[in-house]
């Protein structure tokens, strides 16, 4: 099968065995790769009702058919597992250089199952597969562990690690790679920790069969040239995603003070200009990337001197505005601390902001945290609490389960300002005056994450008080963006440069030999979208519409200041958005896909599971 290595690696941690299996043609035919493989293998492989942190959960790792080929941004890797944060479908992707290495080692997917009796790491050197002792690595920081393994194995190995947060099964622990790239969302690192799997090191030397090597080279060259020729190509890279900080603040969507507000007056101390002028050392790119979004920075103060990749926009938003840390050096330092601990800085900043508000409201009291105080704006408090969370000490043990579960423990109305959907903490866009963006967060299959549909410019362009057309656009984006995760391509060339989507079917055909239009590829993405919905319906009792609502703060509390002052999104507006969204999707008003929809998207196999839920 052109574009594919042709093998799946199955690793059993319990009995320390592995098998190399042929890649099923049906998996390729129906699910393409990456996120598609993850979703289908999770459906097939993980027993219904599995404990996310038990041995029956499985980790699926999958590159895509274009991974490692010659085209811009072909270095993404998809991770998946039943999410311990949400109890439902979980995935997260990572850049860097490990995805091509897995393909070159000969694998289109890795299934990791069981539970090791002691810490191990997975060593993959082509078909030389071993589970090696990781006792000396256990306890190391995520970045430190990568350094250790690079020294032991050689620079040619690409390595993913977890930090203490993953080891301690913090539900928003992240997988780290390439000294600053993370698969951060949905807690898959906690699943690794539960399996005593500290790291994965991969080196590959094999070739990938291409349908038309000459055409692949030619189209790849044209794609790079087209990227370089895009207007504003040179201006994008210096700040990367941090460059959006000013704009998000200008439109009143910058998370501030645990999403109390959408406007942070001190944004100029933490924006892209501050990053470039005060801490940036150089740009840092993933495999085959012409527009490096990574910024490698150094922050040096009397108390610390560290290098860190970032902070990128989401980290600036959640660690900066959301906890009111108002200078780029401290944001970068807090970013470094969470990276080394192995915490997702989106959820990490969200959780710390939640705790700070709990302290302000007297829900967390000083005697509950050893006489300390928790102050918005204090990097010392941020770092201290991050460590408590990563090691599950004291109040950190409650917060380590994320804001939804923590609010259930704390009570006293804290669930109103636990900013999450489905148990996943909200990322970097306050959406009370952005209905398409709000709907994007509400209906993202993994929980409140922006990368399934980023629709805030659509809101601005079409009217932020208008609801017409919003559900349709969100649905479209929820097929376009996840398709990149099936192909395992970075989407930034498209969203940042306006790179034309028409390029992708061309390179897909050259690599795989399959002639498919972009619209045809989107049909695969819709199939996967419905499958991930079915997965969460299967796994979470009562899942459906009730899981698609935003926190009460967004439905009931007007924004107090800034450009969106006075705005909130009443429940009736939320309901209208959901009604329209479900209708477009062919789901009933409880958010359950209809039989006709499952049939139309090729998911007949799910009908027997879903039908009883409609009764």
């Amino acid at each position: 099968m052109n574009g594919y290595a042709g093998n799946i690696l199955r690793v059993n941690l319990t009995d320390r065995t592995h098998r190399i299996l042929p890649l099923p043609e049906s998996l390729v035919r129906d699910f393409i790769g990456g996120r598609g493989f993850v979703a289908k293998l999770m459906w097939d492989e993980i027993p219904p009702g599995a404990d996310p942190l038990g041995p029956e959960n499985k980790i699926i790792v999958a590159p895509g058919p274009l991974t490692g080929a010659f085209l811009p941004g072909a270095g993404k890797l998809e991770w998946g597992a039943k999410s311990p944060a949400t109890g439902g479908y979980g995935d997260s992707n990572i850049g860097g250089h490990i995805a091509p290495e897995i393909k070159y080692a000969g694998f289109d997917a890795i299934i990791i199952e069981g539970q090791a009796s002691e810490p191990v790491y997975l060593y993959i050197n082509d078909f030389d597969i071993e589970l090696r002792c990781a006792s000396h690595l256990w306890g190391q920081g995520a970045l430190q562990c990568e350094t250790t393994l690079k020294a032991e194995l050689g620079e040619e190995f690409q390595i993913c690690t977890i930090g203490p947060a993953g080891e301690n099964k913090v539900l928003f622990a992240c997988i780290s790679h390439d000294f600053g790239r993370q698969a951060g969302r949905t807690g898959i690192a906690a699943v690794m920790g539960s399996k005593n799997l500290k790291a994965m090191a991969v080196h590959g030397t094999k070739a990938i069969p291409l349908a038309d090597p000459a055409e692949t080279l030619e189209v790849g060259k044209q794609m790079f040239a087209a990227c370089f020729a895009k207007p504003g190509f040179e201006e994008w890279t210096p700040q990367g995603t941090a460059g959006v900080t000013n704009w998000v603040n200008e439109v009143g969507a910058f998370p501030t003070r645990n999403f109390t507000s959408g406007f942070f007056p001190k944004y100029e101390n933490i924006n892209g200009e501050a990053l470039v002028s005060r801490i940036k050392v150089t740009d840092k790119a993933c495999y085959g990337c012409p527009i490096p979004c990574g910024k490698y920075s150094r922050v040096k103060k009397p108390a610390y001197d560290v290098y860190v990749e970032g902070p990128e926009y989401e980290t600036i938003a959640l660690i900066g505005g959301n906890t009111e840390i108002d200078n780029i050096e401290d944001v970068a330092y807090a970013n470094y601390i969470q990276d080394e601990l192995g915490l997702d800085s989106i959820s990490g900043g969200n959780v710390v902001g939640f705790a700070m508000e709990c302290f302000e409201k007297g829900i967390i009291q000083s005697d509950m945290i050893g006489g300390r105080i928790l102050r918005f704006g204090s990097v010392d408090d941020f770092v201290w609490l991050s460590q408590e969370i990563a090691y599950r000490r004291g109040i950190g043990n409650i917060l380590a389960d994320g804001v939804k579960k923590a609010s259930e423990v704390f009570g006293q109305g804290s669930e109103r300002f636990a900013i999450q959907v489905k148990g996943l903490e909200w990322s970097g866009y306050e959406a009370r005056h952005a209905p398409a963006m709000m709907l994007s967060y509400m209906t993202a299959d993994v929980g409140a994450h922006h990368n399934r549909s980023w629709a805030i410019t659509f809101d601005v362009a079409t009217g932020r008080d208008k609801l017409e057309g919003k559900a349709k656009r969100v649905t479209e984006l929820q097929h376009i963006r996840p398709l990149f995760d099936m192909l395992c391509l970075c989407r930034l060339q498209w969203v940042e440069l306006g790179f034309e989507l028409e390029w992708y079917p061309k390179i897909f055909r050259a690599v795989t030999g399959q002639k498919r239009s972009w619209d045809e590829l989107l049909e695969f993405s819709e199939r996967v979208w419905n499958l991930t919905r079915c997965y969460s319906l299967r796994e979470i009792p009562g899942f459906g519409r009730s899981a698609d609502y935003p926190p009460a703060r967004f439905m009931e509390e007007p924004i107090p200041d800034g450009p969106t002052a006075g705005k909130y999104m009443p429940r009736e507006v939320i309901d209208r958005l959901l009604d329209e969204y479900y209708a477009i999707r062919g789901w009933d008003q409880r958010g359950i896909p209809g039989a006709a929809k499952l049939h139309n998207v090729g998911l007949e196999f799910a009908e027997a599971t879903i039908a009883p839920l409609r009764a």
Binding site: K230, P231, F233, E235, N246, W247, T457, W494, E496
Partner: protein, 78 residues
Amino acid sequence: MGVIRVTVRGHVAKYFPLEQERFDFPAERPLTALELLRALNVDPLLIMGVSVNGAKQPKDAVINLGDEVLFFSPPAGG
């Protein structure tokens, strides 16, 4: 009558006339970037930044006939 040379970087190009990335805008007099955007029926809030003849400028900067203006889309995150 002259022209202002307009370039749009990134995804908001679809909200410009004919969804074009590059075009010439006929103008009788210098315009600010804000005036130009309104003349194009584009909400200025859609634009993250403005560059005139290669130098970053505020949205109220004056664009003279014959100048090249570049409008930046907001980066859309990961």
